[in-house]
């Protein structure tokens, strides 16, 4: 069979090549690839611009200028009439800024009689020194009459100047810091007394009209409470609803209607949920305004559709062969769902939940409507106390004009983005880790 001489074989004449449009087809493919690359590049460029802007504006918010001064807790200033043993309110009302001022006067070697210079000193240290020193005395009244080193916060304008954010070439009358203050600042800097420290206050302070003493403490606690409430309510309700709809409910018009509505709810603008929360939870049920609990309930309503859709998709993705296997062995429907389907769907459910939570964490509009856009100075101790939320705090700082607030706003955005990225990365890691292949 194989040894037939070559010449006896019939040779096929070369077939004329047809034009099947190969050139155009490849050109179309190349064009499409270019569109894709351009689209992705544009997207990445905007992302880069956004991140660079935020980080370059915001990273300084994590540093705060302080002046380390030997404060003499002078009894003549704190308690001139010696009544503190009988009237503790003296210690609260005392003129603490005077202590800081005296220490600074001594440090800079200004004559106590130089009134214009002392007037300029007023804007040098933060008004927060009052609270700072009061807390020290309140914690330990025996400190009165002694001297100890305290890091006093610099005022916001000096803080900005210290970070080099104030243009000194502008004429003195039109900028927030005077030449005299700059001279002192440089002197203290040279002595190592005035320096930048990590701004832990950004994470602990509540709302304040002074940038240097305002922080996101209240917002972080408020957001934390809300996330816990959303997780505790939305996850069980959402998963239970999905399991019922996907595995137990008969497929009929009514369940179709429910499904359409759930999909629609996921697309309802969040501010509508805010109005709903205002009308139902606050006006009708009389729950407290500005409370993280109500915020959590509203965000639960908003997150539920997301979780239900993700969970149903995860349940439906479990192959039918596993269902048949369980049922064929005589497992009841309940056993099939809870012993086989649910464990296999868990990674998908978790991912959906975390993404839903991340969305809820970044939600602002509904919280504005239920009064969480409030000036809350003290950290809430329960979810029923007034609180704010991370994005709301950003919104409030964005409304402030001062340079130092803009910096803090960018810092807050960085913190929020870090939280969101951490959650999304968790979702991805969980999915990778538990993903099963059939």
């Amino acid at each position: 069979m194989t040894d037939i001489p070559m010449d006896t074989m019939v040779r096929a004449a070369a077939h004329p090549r047809r034009d099947i449009g190969l050139k155009a087809r490849y050109a179309a493919e190349r064009r499409f690839r270019i569109y894709g690359v351009v689209a992705i590049s544009v997207g990445l460029a905007f992302l880069a611009i956004m991140l660079i802007t935020i980080v370059s504006k915001g990273y300084t918010a994590f540093w705060q200028t302080t002046v380390s001064l030997p404060i003499t807790f002078d009894e003549k200033v704190i308690d001139p009439s010696g009544k503190r043993a009988t009237d503790p309110s003296v210690l609260i009302k005392a003129n603490y800024p005077k202590l800081a001022e005296n220490a600074l006067v001594a440090k800079l070697g200004i004559s106590p009689d130089d009134k214009p210079a002392i007037k300029q000193l007023k804007g040098f240290l933060s008004e927060g020194a009052r609270v700072q020193l009061r807390d020290i005395v309140a914690a330990d009244p025996s400190v009165i009459g002694t001297t100890r080193d305290v890091n006093i916060l610099a005022a916001a304008n000096l803080d900005s100047a210290f970070k080099g954010q104030i243009d000194l070439s502008v004429e003195e009358a039109r900028r927030k810091v005077s030449d005299q203050q700059i001279t002192w600042m440089n002197k203290l800097k040279a002595e190592g007394v005035m320096a930048e420290h990590f701004n832990s206050g950004l994470f602990t302070y509540g709302a304040s009209s002074r940038p240097e003493t305002s922080g996101m403490g209240v917002a972080i606690i408020g957001s934390f409470y809300m996330m816990v409430i959303v997780l505790l309510l939305a996850l069980p309700i959402g998963v239970a609803a999905s399991i019922y709809l996907e595995e137990f409910a008969k497929k009929n018009r009514f369940t179709d209607l429910i499904e359409v509505n759930i999909n629609n709810l996921a697309a309802v603008p969040s501010i509508v949920f805010g109005l709903l929360g205002l009308a139902v939870f606050i006006n009708f049920l009389g729950m407290p305004r500005s409370a993280a609990f109500v915020g959590g309930l509203v965000l639960t309503l908003m997150t539920l559709p997301t979780i239900i859709i993700a969970t149903r998709a995860a349940l439906a993705a479990v192959p039918p062969s596993i269902r048949s296997a369980a049922l064929g062995l005589g497992a009841s429907k309940m056993q099939m769902v809870f012993q086989h389907i649910l464990p296999l769907a868990a990674p998908g459910i978790l991912t959906g939940t975390i993404i839903g939570l991340a969305r809820a964490l970044g939600e602002t509009a509904p919280l504005l409507l239920i009064g969480m856009v409030a000036f809350v100075a003290d950290p809430p101790t329960t979810p029923f106390d007034p609180a704010t939320a991370l994005p709301v705090q950003i919104y409030m700082w964005a409304n402030e004009a001062e340079r130092a607030f803009v910096e803090r706003m960018s810092g807050a955005i960085i913190i929020l983005l870090v939280f969101l990225m951490a959650m999304n990365i968790t979702a991805i890691v969980l999915r990778r880790r538990f993903e099963r292949r059939w």
Binding site: K250, S321, I322, S324, A325, L327, G328, L329, Q339
Partner: protein, 272 residues
């Protein structure tokens, strides 16, 4: 091929004397509707104790549908409706008093595609006995797992890796694991829906051997597309076509002198 047929002829004759042709399951005018569409028409078919009954026929002829009626797996399809009567030991399995979970413990099933749970080999086998409470102590469970895996002729291959995932086995091993899983709940009848269609010829041969051994203790109904397989493993064969039972009888007779021309055409490869 000839030798095979002769062997099964001898088997059939021997069985006839031994089991005395006890009817284990009986279908009486069984019809199945999927919504408006009728998929099965008036099927009267007996499944005999300790015999292998093969259901053959071209795709879409209703043989799998009939098989799934025998342990009410069609219940899981919302639109499916079954008419007529199916009995197991003279009891109507669609009766209100029959619990479907109990029925499926008595009538086990092995599917077309091996479908082990994504759990360990041990857990795969132990799952059925556990949910039915067949083993009180760990030692009893170990015993059930071992004997099931032995009966399914896979024990020697997996005894050292019982804690490894069942999905890591080869296709043929997975299918024998699924058979072991079905055996573990001590069913009376085992339904097999094209159990070898996803397997290579060597794995197929092993499963067929296994089916022949299992016949001693269980009643088996098998759906197959392979004429040779039906001839090799079964004692009785039923031929389905377009939702009707065309012909049913002893396998050796069906493959040598069928009464119906459609059966003749199908087994000689003229259609299907």
């Amino acid at each position: 091929m000839n030798i095979m047929t002769e062997q099964s002829l001898e088997n059939a004759v021997g069985d006839k004397m031994k089991s005395n042709e006890v009817i284990k399951m009986r279908g009486d005018k069984v019809g199945v509707f999927y919504g408006e569409k009728q998929a099965l028409f008036d099927v009267d078919l007996d499944v005999r104790l300790n015999q292998v009954t093969a259901l053959i026929g071209p795709s879409g002829c209703g043989k799998s549908t009939f098989l799934r009626c025998l342990n009410r797996m069609n219940d899981t399809i919302d639109s499916a409706r079954v008419t007529g009567k199916i009995t197991l030991d003279e009891e109507d399995i669609y009766d209100k008093n029959i619990d479907v979970v109990e029925l499926r413990a008595r009538v086990g099933m092995v599917f077309q595609k091996p479908n082990p749970f994504p759990k360990s080999i041990y857990e795969n086998v132990a799952y059925g006995p556990r949910i039915h409470g067949l083993a009180k102590r760990k030692a009893d469970m170990d015993q059930i797992v071992e004997s099931s895996l032995k009966k399914a002729a896979i024990w020697n291959e997996v005894k050292d890796r019982l804690q490894e995932p069942g999905t890591g086995l080869s296709g043929g091993q997975q299918q024998r694991l699924c058979i072991a899983r079905a055996i573990a709940v001590s069913p009376e009848v085992i339904l097999m829906d094209e159990p070898c269609s996803a397997l290579d010829p060597i794995a197929t041969a092993r499963v067929e051997e296994l089916i022949d051994e299992l016949r001693q203790n269980y009643t088996i109904v098998i759906v197959t597309h392979s004429m040779q397989q039906a001839a090799r493993v079964s004692q009785r064969t039923a031929m389905f076509h377009l939702g009707y039972l065309v012909e049913e009888g002893a396998t050796d007779k069906m493959f040598t002198t069928p009464d119906d021309k459609r059966t003749q055409d199908y087994i000689t490869g003229r259609f299907g």
